[in-house]
């Protein structure tokens, strides 16, 4: 007793005639309302299949024919939404208010709306929308415009394809695929945010992956002769140091090989969420992305088979060290005309000015 497909044509009879026949108890309308009310009492978005509807014991004699008639009418009114699952028909309840809205739409608008709704939080690209609805460009544009004006849909910017016009229901929050996660604001990369987050993370990891030997004695002793102010300053500095992390320094020493405190992804995530640095709660996957970036920047490294992170001890441009090699510190290594420089050519080592500069430096 299955319904083969929702598209199956049920002979269109006059509704009232069909309804009056079996039950003398309730009018079809009442029954319909009862069915709707029963379904609406479920949580939103619940999908009902045929058996579930029968189980409500509302349909007289569990007649399939009647059930179909009722649901069809409900769907027509926009109160039920017909769907298919595994080739069988099933239904979803639509809120009355929404149904009214839906009913006010023109045919094209309703079509467009249904596809946009179907795309849910991922949104749908206008080009795809057009090919799916098979509408003419202007017709579709008009429909989209009017839907936008009714505040039913909105245009969103997809971070991967910023140039694609993409729509989604106005009430939905775009998914992370669309927004690009917390690192993007309105589809634009928030470089400052990324920078701040990575600075924090880096310091956090440094503080936990290297040993910072205490300051040598003499600096300690001198503190006794310090003025109150100086001492407080020092204390503040130390507190700052001890806070969430530390700065890189040449004096850092490696941890004992048995040390298990190198931060892992979940630790870093928990720490950064605890810090209140970010307005939104960071997910592990997002922090993983950030940590990856720091690794690619050569500032952190993965140890213990990628399970934990450790700071790289020496990084270009910090501590006053430029990690240069023979090539990059040479005038030729940075020379804009390197390729053309040749003995007897217009640029050559004999007359080279960069060299002159370097030699005189």
């Amino acid at each position: 007793m299955d319904i083969a497909s929702p598209a199956e044509e049920v002979p269109a009879k006059d509704e009232d005639v069909t309804m009056t026949e079996p039950s003398g108890v309730s009018s079809p309308k009442e029954l319909r309302n009862a069915l709707y009310a029963r379904c609406a009492s479920f949580e939103e978005g619940h999908v009902f299949n045929q058996d579930e509807l029968f189980a409500f014991d509302i349909i007289p004699d569990n007649s399939l024919e009647q059930l179909l008639a009722y649901t069809r009418q409900l769907a027509k009114d926009g109160l039920f939404k017909l769907m298919t699952k595994d080739g069988k028909a099933c239904w979803k309840v639509v809120k009355r208010a929404d149904a009214i809205k839906y009913r006010s739409l023109s045919q094209e608008e309703a079509l467009v709306f249904s596809y946009i709704e179907g795309a849910a939080r991922e949104g749908i690209w206008s080009k795809i929308l057009r090919s799916k609805t098979n509408l003419h460009m202007t017709t579709m544009n008009r429909a989209v415009k009017s839907l936008e004006n009714k505040n039913m849909i909105k245009a969103v910017k997809i971070v991967k394809y910023p140039n694609r016009k993409t729509y989604m229901l106005a009430k939905l929050q775009p998914s992370e695929n669309v927004t690009g996660g917390p690192f993007y604001t309105d589809g634009v990369l928030d470089e400052e945010f990324v920078h701040q987050m990575s600075l924090w993370t880096e310091r956090y990891v440094i503080g936990r992956s290297w040993w910072h030997p205490p300051l040598p004695e003499h600096t300690r002793k001198s503190s006794s002769k310090m003025t109150q102010e100086q001492a407080e300053e020092l204390r503040a500095a130390e507190l700052r140091q001890r806070g969430h992390g530390r700065d890189r320094s040449k004096a850092m020493l490696p941890m004992h090989p048995g040390y298990r405190g190198h931060p892992t992804l979940s630790e870093v995530t928990r720490a950064i969420n605890g810090s209140g640095l970010s307005g939104v709660t960071m997910k592990e996957s997002e922090m993983g992305q950030l940590l990856d970036i720091l690794c690619w920047d050569g500032r952190l490294e993965k140890i213990r088979h990628g399970k934990a992170y450790r700071a790289v001890k020496q990084v270009n441009g910090e501590d006053g060290v430029e990690l240069e090699n023979g090539l990059t510190e040479s005038p030729c290594g940075r020379c804009p005309v390197f390729e053309f420089c040749e003995e007897g050519g217009p640029v050559n080592a004999r007359s080279c000015e960069y060299f002159q500069e370097w030699l005189q430096f």
Binding site: H256, G258, Y259, S266, W296, R304, G326, L327, G333
Partner: protein, 681 residues
């Protein structure tokens, strides 16, 4: 090698040995192998001069030659590797001085200049103390260098003032050098190119039919192995006869005859003045050192062993890297490891013994290794290593991770919720430990990890079981720190039932990492951090299209492009076009960026050669500017009394030039470090 490398070699030869030599060398560089008449034709020099020049170049190991057995024609070829090594003279001397002593440094300096020398002559020269004249005598057939050496070896040149040195220490020192492989006996193969050496080896090694094997393929494979062994033997001058005997399963006597006849035949075939294999010796089985006494055959001819120096330079580089990336104390321990392994490492680049052996790398026994005990003995004092490692606040340490993998697999339970790795020794494990004493199946790693095999052979915690020895513990900790590092400085082989705990260096992997690191450092300082980020992403992810690259790198598209394009232009990364259909329309094409470390390495290496050549050109030109003064200053009557003979202006110019020269050569040496890393390691 490229044009720039050739240019560089030419400049180096020119700078060290003067014009005649460099002219011949240059022709050989740019024309390839030439016979004597052809060479004469190309250089426009007289027969006598060409012969003379060739003699010098051969003496200095700057050219290779080979006389074919077909037409008895001798062909000459430039030895670019040795020519390049001239730039390292200063480093060689320093290394030798550090390893054997000041005096050894001087001997190396002289050997570098002379190419090779007889032990007897060297000893005579130093004994008599009349270095100048001996030097001239030694170099008589080579002609004295016409310009002073430009690097530090120049200062050593000809000024050997070991007036009172007696013979004994000289022999001793030479023995040390030989033992450390810093010098090696000269073998005729050292004058031949690789291809020629192979031809010769093929002649010497028995034909495939001789080998006992099931089929032709195996025979060929065995012969191939034999050839490889022979080549290696020549190269390092080791005696592989015994191995060969074993290999062929022949009587030793028989083999000897074979070898002898082989050698005799070769002698007849060779049309050359240097008709013996080991030049200068006639003994059949050659023993350069006899017994314990410091004695060397006076007729033995020595040369500098470049391969070993490369190893030592690499060691220094690695220690320096460990110092920068880990800590000075750890680097010190590492230096000891490397030093202890030195005798086991003859060459930086080791080909796998058998290329068909796919699991060659899985076999740790082939790599140089050392046991903890040996190391602990080698490091006398670890007091300065105290307090050089940090511990967590609660002092909890977990050493189980360094147990045998089988053991570890059971013990480690990753607790994702807490984000830490907890160790849970379960009950049944405890039982295993007590109940399987008789099991002895350690090497069977492929067996089911859950099976209870050989666990008792592994100490659950080696630290606790040993009598507490802080010296050993400290060293061991530092070694473990080295193993954790992503470069894989060191590899830990936990204790097994048969073998004690050992440490090994997987040089191919380590050098791959080091080269990669160097390339990225170059990219970072030339193109900026984001460029390095993009390159690393490309390396990790392979070919990547721009969109994905943009979202992975968290860079705005514009910013990203501003880094990608210069990188591409500089040849550091590549761009591949993959058309989506046949139309080849750019709009229907995927553009994929990629990073090929090998390509990048070659490119950076080329640039380094070119840069070095630029420096030398400049140095030469600066020198020419004040040629007169320099010449005057290097006159024997002026040396040491510059102030008397030179005017204040001349003096100033001279000093300025010297300063500049020093700077240029210092920079060239830094560039050479890069070449060493990218090419030789």
């Amino acid at each position: 090698m490229s044009r720039h490398a050739y240019e560089l070699c030419h400049l180096l030869v020119d700078d060290t040995y003067g014009e005649l030599t460099s002219r011949i060398f240059e022709v050989l560089l740019f024309h390839g192998r030439l016979s004597l008449p052809a060479l004469q034709h190309q250089t426009h020099l007289s027969y006598r001069l060409v012969k003379h020049g060739l003699a010098v170049l051969i003496q200095q190991h700057l050219i290779l030659w080979y006389t074919s057995s077909h037409d008895h024609q001798t062909l000459y070829e430039a030895n670019t590797a040795n020519a390049y090594s001239l730039v390292r003279s200063g480093k060689y001397i320093k290394v030798a001085a550090a390893q054997v002593g000041e005096f050894a440094g001087k001997v190396i300096a002289n050997l570098l200049l002379l190419g090779h020398a007889r032990v007897g002559d060297l000893v005579q020269a130093y004994k008599a103390g009349q270095s100048r004249s001996t030097h001239d005598r030694l170099a008589a057939n080579g002609g004295t260098p016409s310009t002073p050496l430009s690097n530090s070896s120049r200062h050593e040149e000809g000024r050997i003032e070991e007036q009172n040195a007696t013979v004994e220490p000289i022999y001793g020192m030479l023995c040390d050098l030989l033992r450390l492989e810093l010098v090696s006996p000269v073998h005729i193969s050292h004058f031949r190119s690789d291809a020629d050496n192979r031809i010769e080896a093929e002649k010497v090694v028995p034909k495939p039919e001789v080998y006992k094997a099931r089929n032709e393929r195996e025979q060929n494979a065995q012969r191939e192995a034999g050839i490889k062994r022979k080549l290696k033997e020549w190269r390092y001058y080791t005696h592989g006869e015994e191995n060969e005997a074993e290999h062929l399963k022949k009587g030793k006597k028989r083999l000897h005859q074979d070898l002898e006849t082989g050698r005799l035949e070769k002698r007849q075939r060779l049309y050359s003045p240097l008709s013996q294999d080991v030049i200068g010796t006639t003994e059949e089985v050659y023993q350069p050192m006899r017994g314990e006494a410091h004695y060397l055959d006076n007729d033995l001819i020595l040369r500098v062993n470049h391969a070993k120096f490369a190893v030592l330079i690499r060691n220094d580089h690695l220690v320096d890297l460990a110092d920068r990336t880990i800590s000075t104390s750890t680097a010190r321990v590492y230096a000891q490891v490397l030093h202890a392994l030195e005798p086991q490492v003859q060459d930086c680049r080791v080909e796998p013994a058998n290329s068909s052996e796919t699991d060659a790398e899985a076999d740790p026994s082939s790599s140089p290794q050392i046991s903890t005990d040996e190391l602990v003995r080698a490091i006398k004092d670890s007091s300065e290593l105290a307090n050089t490692l940090g511990k967590s606040d609660d002092g909890r340490l977990d050493m189980t991770q360094f147990d045998h993998p089988k053991k570890r697999r059971k013990k480690e339970v990753i607790n994702e919720d807490q984000g830490t790795i907890d160790i849970e020794a379960s009950f049944d494990e405890e039982e295993d430990l007590s109940g399987s004493d008789e099991e002895d199946n350690v090497s069977d790693v492929s067996s089911d990890p859950n099976e209870v095999n050989g666990d008792a052979d592994f100490d659950p915690n080696p630290l606790t079981s040993l009598p507490h020895d802080p010296h050993r513990d400290t060293i061991r900790s530092h070694l473990l720190v080295l193993t954790i590092h992503p470069f894989s400085f060191l590899h830990h082989l936990p204790k097994t039932s048969i073998l004690p705990e050992r440490w090994m260096i997987d040089f191919p992997l380590l050098t791959k990492n080091v080269i990669h690191h160097t390339l990225l450092e170059t990219i970072t300082s030339r193109h900026g951090l984001p460029a390095a980020r993009l390159t690393r992403i490309l390396f990790d992810k392979g070919r990547t299209d721009e969109k994905v690259l943009c979202s992975t790198s968290l860079l705005a598209q514009k910013t990203m492009r501003s880094y990608l394009l210069p990188l591409h232009k500089a040849g550091m990364i590549g761009l591949q076009e993959v058309p989506r259909d046949n139309s080849r329309n750019p709009q229907r094409t995927n553009f994929l960026w990629f990073f090929d470390p090998e390509r990048c390495r070659v490119k950076v290496l080329e640039e380094t050669y070119k840069t070095m050549a630029r420096y030398l050109k400049r140095a030469k030109m600066e020198g020419e500017k004040i040629k007169g003064t320099v010449e005057k200053a290097s006159r024997s009557d002026v040396v040491g009394k510059e102030e008397e003979f030179l005017g204040p202006q001349e003096l100033e110019a001279l000093n300025a030039w010297r300063e500049m020269d020093k700077r240029i050569w210092g920079e060239v040496s830094r560039l050479d470090d890069l070449v060493a890393c990218l090419r030789d390691f």
